[in-house]
Symmetry: C2
Subunit: 170 residues, 2 copies
């Protein structure tokens, strides 16, 4: 009798646990679908180079890619060249001016290297609020207007596994 009661209790508990697990999964799925901002495609991968002409020649003449003209962006402290590769771009960056934000990277990586990845979002304000609430540090209080004339924000590399991630509203 006691054993039967125990079996019934365990059985009820298992059923409850399964229901609860199902409910929690539903809640997580609902949470995801109710997200008020969405991640889009990778907009670009930014590489810093010590020699913009040489890097441009590599991607254009050696690899046969389609590259843009050099674009000096004094307000961002960089000169850029874009390499079009399908839906995504490589952004070649070289320091411009005395307070370039990529100079210290080049000082540490004399040959150049991979600097950041930029992922598109559909609503940067909502993304920033949500990420702050999830303890992801942002590198600026407000979104700034980036190299493409669109609002951007950078996430702290220490909160993104050592990778500098830029979000761009697109």
């Amino acid at each position: 009798m006691y054993r039967l009661a125990l079996q019934r209790s365990v059985s009820s508990l298992c059923k409850f646990s399964k229901c609860e697990a199902k409910r929690l999964r539903l809640t997580a799925a609902q949470l995801r679908s109710s997200k008020v901002w969405n991640l889009g495609k990778i907009n670009h991968i930014a590489l810093v180079t010590p020699d913009l002409n040489k890097s441009t020649a590599l991607y254009r003449d050696v690899l046969g890619g389609k590259v843009s003209d050099q674009q000096p962006l004094p307000e961002h402290g960089v000169t850029t060249v874009f390499v079009e590769l399908g839906d995504t771009k490589i952004e070649l960056l070289h320091p411009l001016g005395e307070k370039s934000p990529v100079q210290s990277f080049l000082d540490k990586n004399k040959s150049g290297g991979m600097h950041h990845i930029c992922i598109e979002v559909d609503n940067i304000q909502k993304a920033m609020e949500d990420l702050r609430a999830q303890n992801i540090r942002l590198l600026s209080e407000q979104a700034k207007i980036g190299a493409h004339g669109k609002p951007v924000v950078f996430l702290h590399p220490k909160d993104c596994d050592g990778v500098l991630v830029e979000l761009e509203e697109a």
Copy 2:
């Protein structure tokens, strides 16, 4: 008389130089259009992470991306997770086994970081011949079968401005 002859000579020389320059530009354009292999889209950006579960949670739960299951690839010495972002992917890599090719990267970059970019090509054999002829060093004599079951080859970072570039036939 002497001055006139000199002017004519200079004029002829200028015309010849212009013709020659035009001819050389045509040759360069012809060379590009006659390339027997073509660069395609960026297939993925590979990030090495010290904690695959944590990184997966970042891209899935915090950023709301679509991520794959973990895939152990003992023959490549890595466990991978792919994050689908439009036409391109982020490939999260974590060392697997004792001779993982990404272990030394992780030793140097304890928090993780950007490891390589992978660009598609339509003919890897022709690309390899052409790049060798242009003095770009390849990290293997032959193309190898990569994580997606397709032939891949890595280019020497010293010949690509400090960036490890993988080419994948797709």
